[in-house]
Symmetry: C2
Subunit: 409 residues, 2 copies
C-alpha cells in the first residue's frame, strides 16, 4: 500500500528513470510503403552517382559551347536524345543533338541551349540564336550525390522526401525498430463503456479511448485491455495478460484509497516499481515500473492527469523504444500571454493555445476547472510549464511549452 509520507520525485528525475529503463525495440525490415513515420536504424549511402550521367535540364539542343561563341550560328543535328535513351554518337565540331529534359548529354557536348532560343530551318539543322556558357542547363554526373555518400542516418524519421531518397538509391526496404505493442487497461468500479448510459454514481470510461488514441498516434500497435473493476483477482489477471506487451498502461486505482489496488496488483505480478509519485500537477499519483522488457505506467484516473502523464513520460518512452533521438518534453519556449499562478511545490503542466505570429511564439492559458476538465484540455494544442519553485508567472515571461498531438496537426 502506498505510503502517504513517501515524497514525490521531481519531474526531471522521473523522466531520467523512465528513459533509463526504456530500451529500443528490436530491428525489423519493412518495405518502403510501410516505412512512413518509422525511425531508420541503419545508415543509407548512395549506390551510384546522382545523376548517373550528365543530364539535360531543359528541352533544347546539346552543343559544344565553343561552337556557339558567335551567334546566330547554324549547326547540323545528328540525332535526337529522349529521356531513358543513350546518345548513339559523340558530338563533333559544328554538330548539335536535339535533347529532352532528363536525357543524357552526348560525349563532346558541354551545354544545352533551350529550344526557345533556337530556330529549326530543316529537320537536320538548327540555328542557335543566343550564346550559352559551358555547363549551362546541364546537371553534371554526381552533382546531387556521389556514390558511397551517406544520404540518411540512423535515428532519422522517414518522411515522404526521405522515402523518395531511399527509392532513388535502390532501397525497396529498410531496417527500422519495430512498433511498440501497448495495452491499455482503465480501472474503476464507477466506469461504464462509452456506449452505455451511466447508472447512479457511474461515469463513462474516457481514459481507455483517449489513451489508446494517444498511443496509436505514436505508432504503437494498441490493444484495449477492457475496463477492470476494483477487484484484485480480475486486476491481476488483466495485468498478467497486459505484461506480454512492450508497454502496459493502467488508469485509475493509484491514489491512496483503500480501493486503489493497482500498485499492489502490479507488485504481486512481479513488476518492480521505480516510483509512485511525481511532483507534477496534475498527475501526482503516477506509478512507474518494469517487469522484464515490459514497461508499466499506473496513470491517475482523472482524464486530464492521465493524458498529461502520457504526454510528458509515456510519449518519451514510446519514442525511445522506436529509436527516435531523445527530445526533452518542453524543449520549446513561448511568451506567456497572461499571468498565471499556482501553489508551489510541483511542476504544473497546464492547457494553453500556442500561437505563431511575426516569427514569435505565444502561449495563451486556457480557462479550466482542473484535472477533471477534459473538455477544456481538449481545446489546448500545448501545455505550458510552471516550474515547481514559482507561485506566479507574469505576462510576457518566456515559459517552456510542450506541443500536444503535434504528429496530427
Amino acid at each position: 500500500m502506498k505510503d502517504a509520507a513517501e515524497p514525490a520525485i521531481p519531474v526531471e528525475r522521473a523522466l531520467e528513470i523512465v528513459l533509463r529503463e526504456t530500451a529500443p525495440l528490436e530491428e525489423e525490415r519493412v518495405a518502403l510503403p510501410c516505412a512512413l513515420g518509422r525511425i531508420l536504424s541503419e545508415d543509407i549511402a548512395a549506390d551510384a552517382d546522382q545523376p548517373p550521367f550528365a543530364k539535360a535540364m531543359m528541352d533544347g539542343f546539346a552543343v559544344r559551347s565553343s561552337d556557339v561563341a558567335t551567334v546566330p550560328i547554324q549547326l547540323s543535328v545528328i540525332e535526337e536524345i529522349s529521356a531513358g535513351k543513350m546518345p548513339l554518337r559523340s558530338l563533333l565540331q559544328g554538330q548539335a543533338a536535339k535533347i529532352m529534359t532528363g536525357a543524357p548529354l552526348p560525349d563532346g557536348a558541354d551545354a544545352v541551349q533551350m529550344v526557345e532560343k533556337t530556330r529549326s530551318p530543316a529537320e537536320d539543322a538548327v540555328v542557335i540564336l543566343e550564346r550559352v556558357a559551358s555547363g549551362a542547363n546541364v546537371a553534371p554526373r554526381g552533382r546531387e550525390l556521389k556514390r558511397g555518400q551517406k544520404v540518411l542516418s540512423i535515428g532519422e524519421l522517414l518522411t515522404p522526401a526521405r522515402i523518395g531518397v531511399l527509392a532513388s538509391v535502390g532501397r525497396g526496404s529498410v531496417t527500422v525498430r519495430r512498433r511498440p505493442r501497448v495495452t491499455v487497461i482503465p480501472t474503476g468500479d464507477e466506469l461504464v463503456d462509452c456506449e452505455s448510459a451511466p447508472g447512479p454514481g457511474q461515469i463513462r470510461n474516457s481514459n481507455g479511448p483517449s489513451l489508446l488514441a494517444a498511443a496509436r498516434l505514436l505508432r504503437a500497435e494498441v490493444e484495449d485491455g477492457g475496463i477492470v473493476k476494483d477487484d484484485s483477482v480480475a486486476l491481476s489477471q488483466s495485468i498478467a495478460r497486459g505484461l506480454r506487451s512492450d508497454l502496459l498502461l493502467l488508469s485509475g486505482g493509484v491514489s491512496m484509497g483503500e480501493y486503489d489496488l493497482v500498485e499492489k496488483a502490479l507488485e504481486e505480478e512481479g513488476v518492480e516499481i521505480y516510483f509512485r509519485k511525481i511532483a507534477i500537477r496534475p498527475g501526482k499519483p503516477a506509478v512507474f515500473g518494469r517487469k522484464g522488457s515490459c514497461l508499466v505506467f499506473g496513470l491517475p484516473g482523472n482524464p486530464v492527469s492521465s493524458l498529461v502523464i502520457f504526454a510528458v513520460f509515456v510519449a518519451s518512452a514510446l519514442r525511445k523504444m522506436q529509436g527516435a533521438p531523445e527530445v526533452h518534453p518542453g524543449a520549446l519556449s513561448a511568451i506567456l500571454a497572461q499571468p498565471v499562478s499556482q501553489r508551489p511545490g510541483r511542476t504544473a503542466y497546464l492547457p494553453g493555445t500556442l500561437r505563431f505570429a511575426d516569427a514569435s511564439v505565444r502561449i495563451e492559458p486556457l480557462p479550466t476547472t482542473g484535472s477533471a476538465d477534459l473538455a477544456a484540455y481538449s481545446r489546448a494544442n500545448a501545455l505550458y510549464v510552471i516550474p515547481s519553485d514559482r507561485d506566479r508567472l507574469e505576462a510576457g515571461e518566456c515559459v517552456r511549452v510542450l506541443p500536444l498531438d503535434s504528429t496530427l496537426r
Copy 2:
C-alpha cells in the same frame, strides 16, 4: 500541346482555383477507434451534466462544513461511499461519511476533508482535525459541462483528448468526412522501379514512393498506379483508371517537350484543365484540372518540384476534401538566418531548417543544387518563401514558412 507563351499564374491565384474546384467529400460514420486524426462533421453536445453528481475530489470524509467550524470535533461515520456506488443515507448534523475519490457526495454534505487531516478513533467515528470550507474538495454537479453544452464543433480535428470527450458524452461513433482516395502515376521512359538497377540513361522512380507517402500522411487511401512510359495509349488507359479516384497525381511529362504527353492525354480523357503553369520555383510546369469529382494534378518530374507542388497545392486540396478549415500554406513566419537571393518573377519555396528558441522562430536555408536535389530537400523540415517581386532577402528579415510533414514530427 502547351503554348510556350502562356503566362504562368501567381501562386495565390493557383491556390484559389484549386480550392474553388475542391469539394468536401461525403460524410461517413466511424467508430471511435477509427476516428483519430479525422475531421468532425457534426457538432457534439454533452448528453448530461459532467460530473453527473457532486463528486469527492479526495479520499476522506464527507461532512457538513458548519459541523466542523470548531476543530477538533468528533463525528459519527454513517457509511462508506466508494466510486461507482450511491450514498444510502443523507448526512444529518454531527454525521460524516467515509468517501473515496470520484464517489458521489451524500445529501446534506457540502465538503470533503482529506483523510490526512482526520483521525479515526473507532470504526464508526472520525475526528476532523482541521476546518474545511463549504465546497472544499468537491466537484459540484455540472462543474465541467452542463447538459446540452456544445463540447466539439464541425471542422475540429479528432485528437486523443477529443476522442476522450466523445467517449465521456456517450458517443461511440461520430460523423466525419470520408478519406480521399488518391492514385499516383509516375510517368517517363527513363524510369525504372526502385528495386531495379537502372540501365544506361535510366533513373529510379522516386516520385511514386514519395508522393504515395505524402498522400498517406494526409490520411488518403492511396493506390500506386505504377510507372507509365511516354506512350499515349498506355497513359490514357492509366489516366482513365486513375480518374475513378478522388484525386489523381501524375508526375513527369508536363514540360514543353515532344514527349510531354500528360496534358494531351488528360484532355483526351475529358479532364478540364484550369491552369498549366504556376509562377513558382521550383515546379513551374504544373497542370491542374478536374473531371467530374476527380481532381487531377500533373506534377513536374523533378523530385523536389513535385513535392513542393504537393506541399503547397495538393495538401490544401486533400485537407479541404476532409473538411478541415482552410489554412494558407505559409501562414507561419520566421526570422531568416542568412541572406538569400533569386531571379525575381516567381515565388520561391526553398528548403530550410526551422528552429525554435527563446520563444522565437528562425529558418536556416539549406544548401541545395536545385530541383533535382532530393537529398538536400529531405533534410529540410520547412520551406521558406521568397516573394516573386524580391531578388534578395536579408538575414534578420521575417519570411513566410511552410512546415513540412508536420503531421509526423
